[in-house]
Amino acid sequence: MNPQNLLSKDRPQTDEHQNEQLPETLVARNLIKLAIIRCARILLGIDVKWVREVRPFAGTTPVYGLPPCWVGITALRSHLYAVLDLRQILYHEHITAEGPRQIVFTAINDHSVGLLVDAVAQVRQIDAATITAGPTPDLPYILGSTPEQINVLDLPALYADLHRTATASRENHVET
C-alpha cells in the first residue's frame, strides 16, 4: 500500500500536472499532523484526524470471553469504546507495562476503538511525502517511517482486520 494514498485520501488532492508547471516553492506540501505515541520500544504516529481524545488509563470493565488483546470496555462522553492493547497487537505477546499508561480514543467513520499505549508524547506536523516504506521494524500495521524514525500506524488496516475478525466471530457462532 502506498502510504501517501492512505494518508491523503481525505485531503484535497493537488493536481500533479499543474504542480509540474509551478515553481517548487509554490507546490503545496501534503502536510499531516501525527500524534506521536510511545508503545514499548518504538515511536508510533497516528494521523490526528482519527484521534478523538487522549485520557490517562484508569482501568476498564473486563468483558468475558474476548481475546487477550482486548483490555475491556470504557466510556467517553456517553460513548462506549472497546479498548485494545496496542502492545499485544504489535508484538503478539503480553508485555507488562510499567508506570501509567494512556488511552488514545480513535474513530473512523462510525467505528471507534480505544488504543492502550504507554504515552502520547506530542503532536507533530510532517510532510506525507517524507514517509518511506522502510526501514520499518517487522511489525504489523505500519505504513512506513518518517526521517525521525516515527512509524506511521495504518489505523484503517487495523480497523479492517478487527472488523473482519468480529464478522468471522459472528459467522462462526451461527455455524456452530
Binding site: 476498564t60 470493565t61 473486563p62 468483558v63 468475558y64 470471553g65 474476548l66 482486548w70 475491556g72 470496555i73 470504557t74 466510556a75 462522553r77 456517553s78 462506549l80 469504546y81 472497546a82 485494545l84 467505528h111 471507534s112 476503538v113 478487527l162 472488523h163 475478525t165 468480529a166 464478522t167 468471522a168 466471530s169 459472528r170 462462526n172 457462532h173 451461527v174 455455524e175 456452530t176
Partner: protein, 576 residues
C-alpha cells in the same frame, strides 16, 4: 386509538410521503424536459416509475381510489415513454404536471382541481394510446364538478412537519445522553447526602466546620431542588421526543397480508390471516427491529405450521388454515402473538434432527423436556425441514428472531399444542430509551440484569444448593427444586478459583418454570440507558449490552434469555 384517529394518522403520513414523491417526479420531469437525450434519461425514468408505483400502492391501500386511478394512468404514460413508444413533448409534459397538480389538490384539499377528473383520465389514456392531444385543450379551465371528495385529506389541528429520521435520532440520542448526566447527578447527590449524614456526629459545635457543613447542607438542598426541576423537565422532553418517534404497530403489520397471500399461493395452502392491535404505538427503533422477526414467524407458521388442505380435511379441520397476529400492550411492554391452527411442533422430530446434526446426543435428547426441545429450534443453523423451501427452512429464521428480540431486551415464549397449532409470543419494550436494571455482583464485578425479566429474589442459606447428576438445584421449603446456575462459573472470569459464598438467588424465566441465577450480592435497582456493545467484539454470548453508571463506569448487561437457556441445559456445574 380510535379507528378514525388511526386512519387520520395514516392519511397524514401518506400526504407527507406523497408530497415528497410528487416533488421528485416533477423534478425528474423538469430535467427530462430540459435535456431529453441526456445520459440520465433511463435513470430518471426508472426513478419516476418507482415513485409513481409506490404512490399508487399507498393510495390504493388507503382506499384513495381517485388518486390511485390518476397515478395509474400517469404510470401508463411513463411506461410508454420508457419503452420509447411515446416521445415526451410539451403538451405531454403539460398534462403530466397538471395531473400531478390534480393529485396534490386531491391530497391536501387546499387547491381545487381546475380540470375534471374524467377529462384528465381520458387525456392520459389518449396519450398512452398514442393519440395526439387536441391543441390548447389543457389550457382551458375546466370545472371540478365531477371531483369526488373522497380523496381529500384534511389535516385538522394536527399540522405536521417532516423531519429526517437521522435528525430525530440525533435529538433522541442527545436526550438519552442528558439522561446519563442526570443519573450521574442523582448518584453524586446521594453520595453527598450520605456524607452529610455520616459527618453529623463528628462535627463539633460552633466552629468553622459546622458553618461549612451548614453551607454544604444549604447547597445540597438547592442542588437537590435544581435536580428535581431538571428531572421533571427532562422527563417531559424525553416524553415528547419519545412520542415523536412512536408509530402504530400497523406499520410493521402492513406487508404481512401480501406476504401471506403470496406464500399461500406458492405453497398451495389456503390461509386466513387475521391481524389485531395495529393501533398500538411503539418506538420506531423497536418497530424496525420487530419487522423481520414478524415476517420470519409468519413464514414459519404458513410454511411449516399449516397443513395442506387435504391433510386438514382429514384431520377434521377447515381446509383454510388460520393465522392470527395480535398485538396488545402490557404496561411498558408490547406482546405480539403469532398463533396458527396448524399441526404444531413435532418434538420427537426436532430432537431426532438435533441428534442427527450433532447438536445434542441421544442421551441428552432423551432428557430434554418440552421447553428445552422447543428451544432447539432457536439454535443457530437448526432446521427441521429436510428440503429447503423458497422462503423458510434455511435454518436461520428462528435464530434471527431470537437475536433481534434479545437485542431489545425482549423475550420469546412458545406454546405448542400438537395437532392444534403453535403460539409464538414476542414481548418487547414499548421504547428502548431507558431500562430498570438490577445490579448484581459476582467475582467482584458488577453486572446489570433487566428488571423486567426478574421474577423474584431469594436469600441463599447454607444447604439450599444441592448437586444432582451434575446439575445444581436450589432447594426451598414446600417448593419444587429449581434448576440453578452459578454466574461466576458461567462467565469463567479470572477469579473463578476463589471460592466465594453465594448469598443470593435471582429467579428468571417464566413463573411456571423458573431458573435460579446464583450471585454473591445484590445491589439496588437503577435506571440505565442500555447501549449496544462495540461491534469489534463480535459475537458475545451472555452479554446483551452495556450501561454507563453515574460515575462513568461501564456495566455489562446480562442476557437473561441465554442465562435461562443455559440453566435449563447445563449439567456441568460442580459446586456452588
Amino acid at each position: 386509538m380510535a379507528d378514525d384517529e388511526l386512519s387520520q394518522k395514516l392519511l397524514s403520513l401518506f400526504a407527507a410521503e406523497a408530497g415528497e414523491a410528487i416533488q421528485v417526479i416533477v423534478q425528474s420531469c423538469l430535467m427530462l424536459e430540459e435535456k431529453p437525450d441526456s445520459g440520465q434519461r433511463a435513470y430518471l425514468l426508472a426513478d419516476i416509475m418507482r415513485q409513481t408505483h409506490n404512490l399508487k400502492g399507498s393510495a390504493r391501500s388507503l382506499g384513495l381510489d381517485d388518486i390511485a386511478a390518476l397515478i395509474h394512468s400517469l404510470e401508463s404514460v411513463f411506461q410508454k415513454v420508457k419503452s420509447k413508444d411515446l416521445k415526451l413533448e410539451n403538451d405531454v409534459f403539460d398534462l403530466i404536471y397538471r395531473t400531478l397538480d390534480g393529485v396534490s389538490g386531491l391530497i391536501t384539499g387546499a387547491t381545487p382541481l381546475d380540470v375534471s377528473m374524467d377529462l384528465l383520465l381520458s387525456r392520459l389514456k389518449m396519450v398512452a394510446e398514442g393519440t395526439r392531444l387536441p391543441k390548447k385543450a389543457t389550457a382551458r379551465p375546466l370545472t371540478n364538478e365531477n371531483t369526488p371528495p373522497t380523496g381529500t385529506i384534511t389535516s385538522g389541528d394536527q399540522e405536521t412537519i417532516r423531519i429526517t429520521v437521522g435528525r430525530l435520532d440525533a435529538i433522541y440520542n442527545l436526550v438519552n445522553e442528558i439522561q446519563v448526566v442526570r443519573l450521574s447527578m442523582e448518584q453524586n447527590l446521594a453520595i453527598i447526602r450520605t456524607m452529610l449524614y455520616n459527618a453529623k456526629p463528628h462535627v463539633p459545635r460552633e466552629n468553622e466546620l459546622l458553618l461549612a457543613r451548614t453551607r454544604l447542607n444549604d447547597l445540597y438542598r438547592k442542588s437537590e431542588a435544581s435536580y428535581r426541576s431538571l428531572s421533571q423537565l427532562l422527563a417531559q422532553l424525553q416524553d415528547i421526543v419519545r412520542q415523536a418517534r412512536m408509530l402504530p404497530l400497523a406499520t410493521a403489520f402492513a406487508p404481512l397480508p401480501r406476504m401471506a397471500r403470496d406464500l399461500a399461493r406458492q405453497s398451495g395452502k389456503e390461509v386466513m390471516l387475521r391481524i389485531e392491535g395495529g393501533e398500538i404505538e411503539l418506538d420506531r427503533s423497536v418497530l424496525e427491529q420487530i419487522k423481520s422477526p414478524l415476517q420470519h414467524l409468519l413464514y414459519n407458521s404458513i410454511d411449516h405450521g399449516l397443513e395442506m388442505p387435504e391433510q386438514r380435511r382429514t384431520a377434521g379441520k377447515s381446509e383454510s388454515g388460520r393465522v392470527t397476529i395480535k398485538g396488545s400492550q402490557q404496561g411498558s411492554s408490547i406482546l405480539i402473538d403469532i398463533h396458527d391452527d396448524g399441526a404444531g411442533i413435532d418434538l420427537a422430530h426436532v430432537k431426532e434432527h438435533a441428534v442427527r446434526y450433532g447438536l445434542i446426543t441421544d442421551q441428552e435428547a432423551a432428557q430434554l423436556d418440552e421447553q428445552e426441545a422447543i428451544w432447539l429450534l432457536f439454535q443457530p443453523g437448526f432446521s427441521t425441514v429436510s428440503a429447503i423451501t423458497a422462503v423458510s427452512g434455511r435454518g436461520i429464521g428462528l435464530d434471527i428472531v431470537r437475536k433481534s428480540i434479545e437485542t431489545m431486551q425482549g423475550e420469546i415464549y412458545v406454546e405448542n399444542d400438537p395437532g392444534n397449532g403453535v403460539r409464538f409470543s414476542l414481548k418487547v419494550p414499548v421504547s428502548v430509551a431507558t431500562s430498570l436494571c438490577l445490579l448484581v455482583q459476582t467475582n467482584g464485578q458488577i453486572f446489570a440484569l433487566p428488571a423486567r425479566n426478574v421474577i423474584h429474589l431469594a436469600r441463599v442459606l447454607p444447604g439450599m444448593i444441592q448437586e444432582q447428576n451434575g446439575h445444581l438445584l436450589l432447594m426451598q421449603p414446600e417448593v419444587q427444586p429449581v434448576p440453578a446456575i452459578n454466574l461466576a462459573h458461567i462467565l469463567q472470569s479470572e477469579c473463578q478459583a476463589v471460592d466465594r459464598t453465594i448469598q443470593r438467588a435471582i429467579f428468571l424465566g417464566s413463573p411456571d418454570q423458573p431458573v435460579a441465577l446464583l450471585v454473591e450480592e445484590l445491589y439496588d435497582v437503577r435506571e440505565f440507558v442500555i447501549k449496544e456493545l462495540p461491534s469489534h467484539f463480535g459475537q458475545m454470548p451472555l452479554i446483551s449490552g452495556a450501561a454507563i453508571s453515574g460515575s462513568g463506569e461501564v456495566i455489562l448487561v446480562l442476557n437473561t434469555t441465554d442465562l435461562v437457556k443455559i440453566a435449563g441445559q447445563r449439567g456441568t456445574e460442580k459446586d456452588a
